[in-house]
């Protein structure tokens, strides 16, 4: 008997993956259905048995990844009917992989996002992300998150598209014992900072470990300098048209950045060193470099890679620029991990259930144990280093999310480019500011 090819939705054929998913779901639904028939006589809980599949993508930074994995395991135990698949992906490859998956209409169901008007907003505008506003009003979620500003970078026009979990900021991390031995003093201002860098150099240290192949590590310095001089509300002002990138503050930030680079405080060939393969951390662990500006994931990473070194880690903020608009408490960072749900998730209930497990009290306590600062209420980290982090975040009067996540893609990439070029003197502060103003003009109109 000849079978006619089934005429499913006209524009997109059922891809093989979808067909497999459908048959898997059917395979689960049939016995579940049979179970329902058996319900008369068994507990109501069996009837509420969740089924389906959830594909979950997260970053591979070891410390938070361990907590995500434990949440995933707990959900597997609680909901054996759900086929839960988790992928742990490195930072830079993740950005590409997600973009490709979105474009190919095969996105993961629950995925990590940095929030921000760049990547996440692009996906939201293309209709790929589920609106979570109503979900977040549910009882189980409504009182879970703090501070309220944690939702800023994932809420547009009153609708929220992701759930914040991790809070991070970029600070200088160093070996406390090493600095004490060398007599390196805590700095407050920019000049004091440069003086201490000199001292480190005289003692044969590479003052700052920097692996800038992916460009975001060097961009931290530029982001901080602009924030300290022009204030941490500069970028929102640019986006709303009140300020422009070719402002004198931005040029001055470029000049100070090149002053720093002129000191030669970075490792040789830093613009070609890769962060993901540890080329900057190696220098810290082996005592060849003094410190690194990196996010507060670092202590967790170090605990796994070099436990002896990790015991001696402390952190200090970016120096103050006298005369600048920021008082030194501003932090480049903010919510560094949020989870969003794809609008094409086939089993949204299961996906949201996973969000529940990722942000519940057990997860919150596990994060605190691991010394990770979270946007969840009631976290109480036992570790003194982490308590110090929590204080720094609480005291921060302003936040600016990493520029390459906050800004629309072309602008985000432009600032990565100019900061890398400023550091190896292939551009000038004025040219850098002008370039960004030009890109902003095309992007923002």
């Amino acid at each position: 008997m000849k079978h006619r090819k089934s005429k499913l939705s006209g524009s997109s054929d059922l891809s093989r993956r979808d067909a497999l998913k459908l048959s898997a779901a059917a395979g689960i639904a049939l016995p579940a259905g049979a179970g329902v028939l058996n319900m008369f006589g068994s507990s109501p809980a069996a009837a509420a048995e969740m089924s389906g599949s959830v594909e979950f993508w997260h970053l591979s930074n070891p410390a938070p990844a361990a907590v995500y994995t434990s949440s995933v395991e707990r959900m597997r135990v609680a909901h054996p009917g759900v086929d839960l698949r988790a992928q742990s992906i490195q930072n830079d490859p993740y950005k590409t992989k997600l973009q490709v998956a979105m474009g190919a209409d095969q996105p993961p169901d629950v995925f990590h996002s940095f929030g921000g008007g760049g990547v996440l907003k692009a996906f939201v505008d293309a209709g790929k992300v589920m609106d979570l506003t109503d979900v977040l009003a549910e009882d189980r979620f409504v009182d879970r998150f703090a501070p309220a500003s944690a939702f800023d970078n994932m809420t547009w026009e009153g609708r929220t598209y992701a759930v914040p979990i991790l809070v991070a900021g970029a600070f200088f991390y160093y070996d406390r014992d090493l600095f004490q031995r060398l007599g390196i003093k805590q700095w407050r201002t920019w000049d004091e900072f440069l003086a201490e860098l000199h001292k480190m150099k005289e003692n044969g240290l590479i003052p700052i470990a920097l692996a800038n192949k992916a460009r975001w590590a060097g961009a931290f310095y530029y982001n901080y300098l602009v924030g300290r001089i022009a204030g941490f509300d500069f970028l929102p002002k640019v986006l709303s048209g009140e300020a422009k990138f070719d402002a004198p503050e931005v040029v001055r930030a470029g000049e100070l950045l090149q002053d720093l680079a002129e000191l030669d405080p970075f490792p040789k060939g830093f613009n070609g060193l890769a962060y993901d393969t540890g080329e900057s951390r190696q220098l810290l662990y082996s005592g060849k470099a003094g410190m690194e500006m990196i996010t507060n994931y670092f202590p967790g990473t170090a605990a796994r890679e070099a436990p002896e070194y990790a015991k001696r880690i402390w952190f200090t903020p970016f120096p103050i620029i006298p005369g600048g608009a920021d008082d030194g408490s501003g932090v480049i960072g903010g919510v560094s991990a949020a989870f969003a749900v794809s609008s094409s998730a086939e089993h949204p209930d299961a996906a949201i259930e996973l969000l529940d497990f990722l942000t519940d009290a057990t997860a919150r306590d596990e994060f605190a144990e691991a010394g990770i600062v979270v946007a969840l209420k009631g976290a109480n980290p036992p570790d003194p280093l982490m308590k110090e982090h929590a204080k720094a975040f609480e005291n921060a009067k302003s936040y600016q999310l990493y520029w390459d996540q906050f800004l629309p893609p072309a602008l985000g990439q432009a600032q990565l480019d100019v900061s890398q070029s400023l550091l190896d003197f292939t551009t000038t502060p004025q040219a850098a500011a002008d370039h960004m103003a030009a890109v902003a003009k095309t992007e923002l109109g």
């Binding site: 692009a122 505008d125 800038n212 192949k213 490792p267 040789k268 613009n271 070609g272 893609p409």
Partner: protein, 284 residues
């Protein structure tokens, strides 16, 4: 004819159709997600011609072409002649020399990243140990050295490929030609120039075309080792295309770059083939 059908179908679906699709996308301003709405005629092409990074990447591709044709092919030929000279133990070296071609490109990239590491890597360590520490560099991170450092690795990987190609060619040259040359009192250099080279001519042209095409669309090691940096100094047409499509959310523009790459490759390859056919006719 019927036997051609499966290959033709395969070729059509996986080669011709996507090329056509890329051509179509190149006329749109499209981020790669969502509907394709913005038809902008040739704006993407105009932008490419005005983009300094596009021209720099084209220049880098040509540097790679010269390195491939000017280094890999002569060295490959020299190694092949060494292998064919009949010295003892050459079968072992044939296998050893060929290894780089067999290795995964990504593995080679990572290996050489560690060798080039300015602080812990083998290269700077050796330079320091033999008293040449003033030659130490941040190989992959400095604008002046990055491109050549990667090209060195590309050559390391692909020279053995040409070596094997030429070795096969050398073994087909009739020994009588060399004997005749010896009887005419030709020295080694003359034997090379008047016997070896002409016999290898066809193979050398083929190899040059392969090198040309491969260099124009090269992607792998640059992507793994420098990602086109620092400051786009090592950018190639293919890495630019990748970045535009997947990092900058500009699939339409990237498609235009892809079409331009196709046109450039087609033009140059056709020119080389035409030139070689013409001069072949004159020489025989």
């Amino acid at each position: 004819m019927a036997f051609l059908a499966p290959s033709a179908a395969f070729y059509f679906i996986f080669v011709l159709l996507p090329i056509g699709q890329s051509g179509l996308y190149s006329f749109y301003d499209w981020p790669g997600v969502g509907p394709r709405a913005d038809f902008i005629w040739f704006d993407n092409y105009i932008e490419a011609f005005q983009d300094p990074i596009f021209w720099r990447s084209l220049g880098n591709n040509f540097i790679l072409v010269f390195a491939s044709v000017g280094v890999q092919i002569p060295v490959g030929l020299a190694l092949a002649m060494l292998l064919a000279a009949g010295l003892r133990g050459m079968r072992f070296f044939r296998a050893v020399f060929f290894l780089p071609v067999l290795m995964s490109t990504v593995a080679i990239g990572l290996l050489w990243i560690y060798i080039y590491n300015p602080n812990f890597g083998l290269l700077n360590a050796i330079l320091g140990a033999i008293g040449l520490s003033n030659l130490e560099r941040g190989w992959l991170g400095e604008p002046g050295t990055a491109l050549y450092a990667v090209i060195a690795v590309v050559s390391w990987q692909w020279t053995p490929f040409y070596m094997i190609l030429f070795f096969a060619g050398l073994t087909t040259i009739p020994v009588e030609l060399y004997e005749a040359a010896r009887m005419d009192k030709a020295n080694a250099w003359q034997r090379f120039w008047w016997v070896t080279l002409p016999s290898m001519r066809g193979l050398i042209v083929t190899a040059s075309i392969l090198a040309l095409m491969g260099s124009l669309k090269y992607f792998d090691l640059i992507f793994v080792m420098t990602e086109g940096g620092p400051s786009y100094k090592t950018e190639l047409l293919a890495t630019n295309m990748y970045r535009q499509a997947f990092t900058l959310f500009r699939f339409g523009y990237a498609s235009a770059v892809a079409v331009l790459l196709l046109l450039i490759s087609l033009t140059l390859t056709t020119a080389v083939l035409y030139w070689s056919r013409r001069t072949n006719g004159q020489n025989s």
